[in-house]
């Protein structure tokens, strides 16, 4: 348990450093990538491409492992159904991301700057996450 927590802190440090080094703390950079009709900035494509290399390699290695090194089993989602919540949720997230240029990873990492805009966005994001728990079918699923 302690080992797993220390590992999580270490992985978090790598993640946050990666977000900062790649300039993903800057929403203007993200918006410039999303603005395909304007002065397009390819930065986010390099970040995604770079991230997918070790991540894809880890899933190839995982195939040869019965369990992760510090836990009894893998906790990787196995659901393969394309449903309405998946697409609707992606679209709603896309609108918010396009309006401001912030998604959850950079928001968390950028808290270190203590900028009021980041703090306001983070609070609104958590309120939005909490609101999801009040969806009628979501409550039914929790009850069942």
């Amino acid at each position: 348990m302690l080992n797993r927590t220390l590992l999580a802190v270490f992985c978090g440090i790598l993640f946050g450093a990666g977000i900062a080094v790649s300039d993903m703390l800057n929403p203007a950079r993200v918006l410039a990538f999303l603005d395909v009709a304007g002065a397009w900035d390819p930065t986010l494509a390099f970040v995604m491409g770079g991230a997918l290399i070790p991540s894809a390699a880890s899933y190839l290695i995982k195939k040869r492992m019965a369990a992760p090194i510090l836990d009894k089993r893998f906790h990787v989602p196995t659901n393969r159904t394309i449903d309405t919540p998946l697409v609707a949720g992606g679209a709603i997230f896309g609108v918010g991301w396009g309006l401001v240029g912030l998604c959850p990873g950079p928001v968390v990492a950028a808290l270190v700057t203590l900028k009021w805009e980041i703090i306001v966005f983070a609070i609104a994001m958590i309120v939005g996450m909490a609101a999801y728990g009040y969806l009628p079918q979501r409550r039914a699923k929790v009850a069942a």
């Binding site: 797993r4 927590t5 999580a8 270490f10 992985c11 978090g12 440090i13 790598l14 946050g16 450093a17 990666g18 900062a20 300039d23 703390l25 800057n26 929403p27 203007a28 950079r29 999303l34 603005d35 395909v36 900035d41 390819p42 970040v47 995604m48 770079g50 991230a51 997918l52 290399i53 894809a56 880890s58 899933y59 492992m65 992760p68 990787v76 393969r80 394309i82 998946l86 609707a88 949720g89 992606g90 709603i92 997230f93 609108v95 918010g96 991301w97 396009g98 401001v100 990873g105 968390v108 990492a109 950028a110 306001v120 966005f121 609104a124 994001m125 939005g128 996450m129 909490a130 999801y132």
Partner: protein, 147 residues
Amino acid sequence: MNELHFLWPLAGGLLIGLSAALYLLFAGRIAGITGMTATVVGLVDGGSWSPARTQALGFLGGAVLGAGLAIAFVREPEIIITPSLGLLVLGGLLVGFGTRLGSGCTSGHGVCGLARLSPRSIVATITFMVVAALTVFVVRHVLQGVV
């Protein structure tokens, strides 16, 4: 906005991917920030304190620390945030609600899901990328300064 050499985003991306890879192989978990944030603030499993919650808190705390270390010792970021207070709140609400409804964001679906060719993550990533680009198009090229 400053020009940025492509080696910076490539190096940063590799760090993010390495983080996701180690988290998978050692802890057996997806490095998804949406799920971890919801877990840390008590929106998952009725808010009970579980080992998963401690781990998620460790990861997110580490992310704040890692960003601080990189800012202090690697490069000072330029952070330009132009949206108004109202748009920040609206954007935050939509990002929070949408990522929970869609079971993930750029890290969980993008970095971890695409890497294992999950059909759900491929659909989710295409959806939020296309909708975000359309949103930017409407705001910048259709409404132009209205919002």
